[in-house]
């Protein structure tokens, strides 16, 4: 999963490089949301919380 997240970050850099501003911002924000989701999944599974 972390490979995919790093891949998304690399995709963001490439989109910035190409120059698509709105797409770059959207992709970056989506990546941040996915990072938060993965972190919360990690915390809840480590604490064995049933949501």
């Amino acid at each position: 999963m972390m490979v995919l997240l790093f891949g998304l970050l690399l995709l963001c850099v490439l989109i910035i490089w190409i120059g698509w501003h709105k797409l770059a911002i959207t992709t970056t924000l989506v990546t941040l949301v996915l990072l938060c989701a993965w972190f919360s999944h990690h915390v809840t599974s480590a604490l064995n919380i049933q949501l």
Partner: protein, 184 residues
């Protein structure tokens, strides 16, 4: 050197600082065979996301949206680092990885993110950088920006390859001791 050039130099320095931190993490991983845990990888990803805000500033000119992205990423990264610090804060619970100047890497991440947040707030104090006529003058330093782009791409490629070798496409082990895909 006018106000706009100062802000651009500040963005270049910030980006360079983040790249240096990520390179140090890579050197520690390779030199000391210190494999990154899942939380360490999330901190690396968070710092890379902070760098994206500065990259956006260098590519499209300074905008508050770009600083907001860096601030969001700072908050995320510091949350992960605090979580990892709290896991080891009780005496006798051990620690993860090697210490540099007496502090473990996840504690350094808290310090760095706090400094980055203050730094971004300082950069946001300069209103003139957002004026439209200033934003059009983003022409200088294209060579440095290109080098920084290449460096950040290199760091991210290293992270992708090392993470793939360490965990494959599944969830990384909590306490990794070997590269799963190499040492089978």
């Amino acid at each position: 050197m006018n106000n706009h050039h100062l802000i651009k130099a500040a963005n270049i320095l910030s980006l360079l600082g983040i790249i240096i931190v990520l390179v140090i993490a890579g050197v520690v991983q390779l030199q000391w065979h210190d494999l990154p845990c899942p939380l360490c990888l999330l901190q690396r990803a968070g710092l890379s996301a902070v760098a994206l805000g500065f990259l956006l500033n260098l590519r499209f000119g300074a905008r508050s949206t770009h600083y907001a992205i860096s601030l969001f990423a700072c908050i995320f990264t510091v949350s992960v680092a605090v979580r990892q610090t709290l896991l080891h804060i009780v005496p006798g619970t051990g620690s993860y990885g090697s210490a540099i100047f007496g502090l473990h890497l996840y504690v350094w991440v808290i310090v760095i993110c706090a400094m980055l947040t203050l730094w971004i707030a300082l950069l946001l104090l300069c209103n003139k950088q957002f004026l439209p006529e200033r934003a059009k003058t983003v022409k200088t330093g294209k060579f440095i920006t290109m080098i920084l782009f290449l460096l950040i791409v290199g760091v991210m490629l290293f992270n992708i390859v090392s993470t793939y070798l360490e965990c494959g496409l599944k969830q990384c082990p909590d306490n990794p001791v070997k590269y799963e895909l190499i040492s089978q």
